[in-house]
């Protein structure tokens, strides 16, 4: 009589994977500074991304991506669907939180020099993730199909048109025609729920893989005495529980924000009526201000140039250090100036009306 092999063995037979590897991966030693929450912003972004995916799928059940029905379907989600307003508000606010977390995470990485050799490629991936996140925000905002989203899309595609060489083609591709219209909404929808999530998932996967392969950057603060056996701790359960606690706190904050500031709805899109104020989302304010200060073409060129420098900064800095003995402090100074410029332009645009 054959003995029943048991559920565990059956599973092992069906999925011939060495599960002990998970334990090995999970027990990856991480540096002691990760005990502090402000070093956990990378995990925060991942957590918010997961919320985006879950709430986004829920919204997809009710959203209709056609100019005639998009606004009405968002109105129905907000006013009629049970808990629709809450899911929509969570989606909106987690997107905002995500952009904030990405920026804070990048600040920390930049100023602690965690982008330097051998992690240059991961900085580039992180930068692409920032761009993806902002594009997520922009396309999502446009799907609401209210006045501001329609006119925001019009301005943004005009900006895209001003990109040297590929601009007109890019704008035509985004709009699905010469003007923002029926095809634009469909294209933004496909980008928002199909292309961007795939790109983001791949980049996140690659980003984490590289972090795992390189290990987390070791930071040693002057004057801090840490015993050798305390310099590292296991990813699981120590760091995992810290991340979980942050997740719970984030969920609490998100719920509170969604309750106090639920996602609203402006007037429906009307291509014949230009609103008094056309504003993109806040994270594009810097670019909008630059546009007003210069010209459409120059602002786009400046933004692209700044983006390219930031994207390739680990390599540029390395090259400068090698050739000109570029001091570390200068990197900090340049980063500070660049970020302060971003802040000033953003606040300026907010108050400029």
């Amino acid at each position: 009589m054959n003995r029943d092999p048991g559920l565990r063995q059956r599973l092992q037979e069906m999925v011939p994977f060495d599960w002990s590897l998970l334990r090995h991966i999970g027990s990856e030693p991480v540096p002691y500074h990760l005990k502090k929450w402000w070093f956990c912003l990378g995990g925060t972004v991942l957590y918010l991304f997961i919320i985006q995916v879950v709430t986004g799928i829920a919204l997809t059940f009710y959203y209709v991506p056609s100019p005639d029905e998009a606004y009405a379907s968002v109105a129905a989600i907000t006013r009629e669907v049970r808990f629709g307003w809450f899911i929509r508000s969570l989606h909106k606010w987690s997107a905002q939180f995500m952009i904030v977390a990405v920026i804070l995470h990048m600040l920390r990485v930049y100023f602690t020099g965690a982008y330097r050799r051998p992690r240059q490629l991961n900085w580039c991936i992180g930068f692409l993730l920032l761009g993806t996140t902002m594009t997520f925000g922009f396309t999502g905002y446009s799907l609401v199909y209210e006045q501001l989203s329609f006119w925001g899309a019009t301005v943004a595609t005009n900006l895209a048109e001003a990109v040297p060489l590929v601009g007109p083609l890019l704008a035509y591709f985004l709009r699905g025609g010469a003007e923002v219209g029926e095809n634009t909404l469909t294209r933004f929808y496909i980008l928002h729920i199909g292309v961007l999530p795939t790109v983001a998932a791949l980049l996140v996967g690659l980003h984490i893989l590289l972090v795992r392969l390189h290990g987390v950057t070791e930071l040693h603060f002057e004057g801090e005495t840490v015993r050798e056996d305390e310099r590292h701790f296991a990813f699981w359960p120590e760091h995992g529980t810290t991340e979980l606690m942050i997740g719970v706190l984030l969920m609490y904050l998100l719920t509170l924000t969604a309750l106090i500031f639920p996602a609203g709805l402006g007037a429906p899109a009307d291509p014949t009526v230009t609103p008094l104020h056309i504003k993109p989302e806040w994270y594009f304010y810097f670019n909008f201000r630059l546009l007003k200060l210069t010209s459409l073409r120059l602002s786009v060129v400046l933004t692209l140039a700044a983006g390219a420098v930031a994207f390739l900064w680990p390599f540029i800095e390395e090259w400068l250090s090698r050739r000109l003995k570029f001091p570390d402090a200068l990197s900090v100074l340049l980063g500070t100036l660049a970020f302060l410029s971003f802040l000033v332009l953003t606040v300026w645009e907010a108050f400029a009306g």
Partner: protein, 531 residues
């Protein structure tokens, strides 16, 4: 650079970033509140006025803050600014302003509305200052040196001629260190619809769009029109309240969308009931889409005039300069391109005078066209047959009043004047003149207006019943009484005249009903009241 220093840099930049986000959020929320109308936009030009008048007249500022103007950043100076040379202008806190905001001022932004209004009956409401009504208020109810009845009564609806106090040299009196002009208190404050303003404009937008909140819901509400369209001589608001339309409005006020910003279209934005504005000036849906009438020419859809002794259908002639003139259907119409001598009333030296102006005809709107536009509103709820039958009922009532009472009474009055019994310069000397005036001006209008707006009680008991009763028991005896004062021959002439009139088919009923009618009447009372 040490890692500790870098840590502080990150902390400082993160703090600044979050601070920037808070600032952006604050500003965004402020802008949202402004756009949603929850917060006024006070521009630099208006900041001083608002700050100071908030202490001086806080409720006034609060009302403005509540207005759509405030949401759009249109403030005190934008409306109250005066031009150099304006009689009512003075420099206040360094800015040339005027207390009096006229349609000409409003036209700086609302040009279309101003143009429509300027050609309307409303803009000419002040021309009543030379009418019998004004004689009654200034002479009959007033006394030399005191025309308070006209000032407080007629002029507050019809409008005053805004005048200034002047010195012995005829110069406008100015007081205070800012040399503020002194307006004749008999003529201001005044929110009359046809106010005659020092800048030559006619009217007062404030009559319907009460300052400083300029609430759409207020001007769309029937009560707003009811300030003037009420009382014994034109009780439109009472008739409306009595009508099915009025009943539906008051029962469904909450569903009327009266606060709607922008266009307010019957059949799209609301459906529960029509208000005065709905039928006379607002937009409505048609099978072809929105009829964007929304005209500030309040008489555009009126096909009968129900105001004079005898009603007539009204055609409208529009001249090339935009001047509009009603042509009763008894007056031959010109053709397009004709040069017509028109009579226009204007203020010269603070007095209303008539001026003849030759104008070329640009467009003719027949009474049928005007009625068609009115019917367009009706058709949002009723079908063609219903609307046509209503107009048949209404037309018949006006014809009945005209033919049975108004025309014979007018003919008798004309004869009395021709025979020298009545002095046309003394319009209220004899009882018959008072009775005749009330017959058409009060009772006759009530009957006609009652029928025009589906008010059964005003049509009959307050209208035709009173017309008939006073025609038979007051007017006709007073005609003979006035004639008798002139001598027996005249008395005899008018007795015969009245006898002939009462011998007409429509009056012979007075001599008695037929036996069948009398029996039916007796039986009805017996069955109904057991008497």
């Amino acid at each position: 650079m040490s890692l500790t220093v870098k840590r502080y840099v990150v902390a400082a930049l993160s703090f600044l970033f979050l601070l920037a986000l808070l600032l952006v959020a604050y500003q965004e929320s402020r802008r949202f509140r402004q756009e949603a109308g929850l917060e006024p936009v006070v521009t630099v030009a208006n900041r001083g006025c608002v700050d100071c008048h908030r202490k001086d007249g806080p409720a006034l500022v609060m009302e403005w803050e509540f207005s759509r103007h405030a949401q759009l950043g249109v403030g005190c100076v934008d409306c109250h600014t005066a031009e150099k040379g304006d009689l009512d202008g003075w420099t206040h806190e360094g800015v040339l302003i005027s207390a009096l905001v006229t349609p000409k001022d409003c036209a700086r932004c609302h040009a279309r509305e101003h143009e429509e209004f300027s050609g309307s009956h409303h803009a000419r409401a002040g021309e009543i200052l030379a009418s019998l009504d004004n004689v009654l208020a200034e002479k009959a109810a007033g006394m030399p040196g005191n025309i308070a009845d006209a000032v407080n009564g007629c002029w507050q609806c019809h409008g005053s001629i805004v005048r200034f106090k002047r010195d012995l040299q005829g110069q406008i009196l100015r007081v205070g260190k800012e040399a503020k002009p002194v307006i004749d208190p008999d003529t201001w404050p005044n929110s009359g619809m046809g106010r005659l303003n020092p800048d030559g404009s006619k009217g007062s937008c404030h009559a319907c769009h009460s300052r400083h909140a300029f609430q759409a819901s207020l001007s769309r509400s029937p009560e707003n029109c009811g300030k003037c369209h009420m009382g014994p001589d034109h009780p439109q608001i009472e008739i409306y309240n009595e009508s099915k339309h009025g009943i539906a409005f008051y029962a469904n006020r909450g569903r009327m969308n009266l606060d709607k910003v922008g266009e307010w279209v019957l059949g799209r934005d609301y459906s529960a009931a029509p208000t005065c504005a709905t039928c006379h000036i607002s937009s409505y849906m048609t099978p072809q889409g929105v009829y964007t009438a929304n005209s500030h020419d309040v008489g555009e859809r009126i096909s009968w005039t129900l105001r004079p002794v005898v009603s007539t259908k009204l055609n409208m002639v529009v001249y090339e300069d935009g001047f509009k003139e009603d042509f009763p259907d008894t007056r031959p119409l010109p053709t397009i391109g004709d040069l017509v001598e028109t009579l226009e009333k204007v203020v010269e030296n603070e007095r209303l005078v008539s001026r003849k102006v030759s104008r070329r005809v640009a467009r003719i709107v027949s009474w049928e066209d005007r009625r068609k536009v009115m019917k367009g509103a009706c058709l949002n709820c009723h079908n063609d047959t219903y609307v046509d039958n209503f107009y048949k009922q209404f037309d018949d009532l006006v014809v009945l009043y005209n033919e049975k009472f108004a025309k014979p009474a007018q003919a008798l009055m004309d004869e009395l004047v021709a025979d020298g019994i009545l002095n046309s310069n003394a319009p209220f000397e004899h009882d018959v003149q008072w009775t005749f005036y009330e017959l058409w001006h009060h009772e006759g209008r009530r009957a006609r207006h009652g029928a025009s707006m589906m008010g059964p009680d005003y049509t009959h008991w307050h209208g035709m019943y009173e017309v008939a009763k006073h025609f038979y028991v007051k007017f006709l005896p007073e005609v003979i009484e006035a004639a008798a004062a002139k001598g027996p021959a005249m008395k005899q002439k008018y007795e015969d005249r009245v006898k002939r009139l009462l011998g007409r088919d429509e009056h012979v009923w007075q001599k008695g009903l037929s036996p069948q009618e009398a029996e039916a009447l007796r039986k009805m009372y017996e069955e109904r009241y057991n008497q």
